[in-house]
């Protein structure tokens, strides 16, 4: 194998690893290196919080999770925004299948938590943004509060 082929092989492996990481790799919330791999906008955003803990949120946090404007801007960007309690159930009294991994991830990380669900179903979790502007930046939508 000549140098050209070796280079192409290594390049291929790097690309494949990068693609795998982007799709299925663990989420890492480290802003200063996050530019190293591409991130796409989430398809769905879930804010998971205990209803009774609403009082423990800061006023700016309360304001953004209740903001119809932010929800509308998400919708325009093709993103669903949901604010849920971990006790949510379906009509049969069971945890909805769609929500089970989201709630499990959020609970494990510690509530309140913001969970992104990518179009492939990949989950990423974040601390609850401190205000509307931070939430917009994290979700990847523009606009103002």
């Amino acid at each position: 194998m000549n140098a050209k082929k070796r280079f192409a092989l290594v390049l291929c492996l790097v690309c494949l690893t990068g693609a795998w990481w982007t799709q299925w790799g663990p989420a890492i919330e480290v802003p200063f290196i996050s530019w190293l791999w591409p991130s796409s906008k989430p398809a769905k955003v879930f804010v998971v919080r205990e209803s009774s803990d609403a009082i423990k949120l800061t006023v700016p946090q309360l304001a953004w999770i209740n903001s119809p404007k932010l929800a509308a801007d998400c919708k325009v960007a093709g993103i669903e925004l949901h604010v849920i309690d971990p006790d949510v159930k379906d009509r049969d009294g069971k945890m909805p299948t769609e929500l089970a991994p989201v709630i499990e991830r959020a609970t494990k990380a510690g509530l309140p938590r913001m969970i992104f669900v990518g179009s492939s179903g990949r989950l990423t979790d974040f601390a609850l943004p401190s205000d509307d502007a931070s939430a917009r930046a994290q979700i990847g939508i523009g606009g103002t509060p």
Partner: protein, 248 residues
């Protein structure tokens, strides 16, 4: 908008609808309903001194602003079903808060709670019934205000299970006024009964005009019939917060 304060003389302006029956707390004490817990045990009360600043911060973000229901779909049209139409508003509000799609729910489908008669009820009985039976999509009863479910499309009972209040708090253990204000400031709507008006409503916003606090409700009497209540008139006799509804 109609305003009610301490100096308002309450007249029977709606022709004696009497949709709300006062809850008898000696028979149904606070905390005795299923799936409930006292609000004040779950949530710390926000002192009134903080209300003005919090109201400012919540401008455009109260339940009123999140709610997608309309006065037309919430109009009780003379039925003594304020307890049902306003609970339906609260369930829709809980759906809106969770980011679920808007569904025009059929408040009449809670009529089984009063044996399908045009009768009043108390809020606690209504919420308990709704948590067991749910509220179906309005499309199952093309004719509005029809209390004969045999004329509705089949399958409505099964569909109703998609729209149930699952868990709620009861307010009033410590201080009904402060608890109501706190719940509104946290972005919840509050399902209330006012015995002085024999009326049940969904409170959706706390306001402050520089001297007094008021609570706002879209009411269920049609467009332009929203109420703003202040003073003793803003303190409900019965109040609940639907905190979780069925995911559907």
């Amino acid at each position: 908008m109609i305003t009610f304060g301490d100096d308002t003389i309450v007249q029977d302006i709606y022709g004696g609808l009497s949709g709300l029956i006062p809850r008898d707390y000696s028979v149904q004490p606070l905390g005795s309903l299923p799936y409930t817990s006292p609000f004040s045990e779950a949530v710390s009360i926000i002192p009134e001194s903080e209300w003005p600043d919090r109201i400012k911060a919540m401008q455009g973000r109260f339940a009123r602003h999140v709610y997608t229901g309309t006065p037309t779909e919430d109009f009780q049209n003379g039925l003594k079903f304020c307890w049902s139409f306003s609970l339906t508003q609260d369930v829709k509000c809980a759906r809106d808060r969770a980011g679920l799609p808007h569904v025009d729910l059929l408040a009449e489908s809670l009529g089984g709670a009063v044996n399908w008669r045009n009768k009043g009820n108390y809020c606690g009985a209504a919420i308990k019934y709704a948590s067991e039976h749910g509220i179906c999509d309005r499309s199952f009863s093309p004719k509005r205000y029809d209390l004969d479910p045999s004329t509705w499309k089949s399958g409505w009972e099964a569909e109703a299970l998609n729209h149930k209040p699952l868990e709620w708090w009861e307010l009033g253990q410590q201080n009904m006024r402060l608890e109501t204000g706190t719940a509104l400031l946290l972005g919840y709507s509050v399902y209330v009964g006012f015995n002085w008006a024999s009326h049940a409503m969904s409170l959706q916003e706390l306001q402050f005009d520089g001297s007094k606090f008021s609570v706002w409700t879209p009411n269920t009497h049609g467009s332009g019939q929203d109420w703003l209540l202040s003073g003793s008139r803003m303190i409900p006799d019965e109040a609940y917060v639907v905190r979780v509804c069925t995911w559907s």
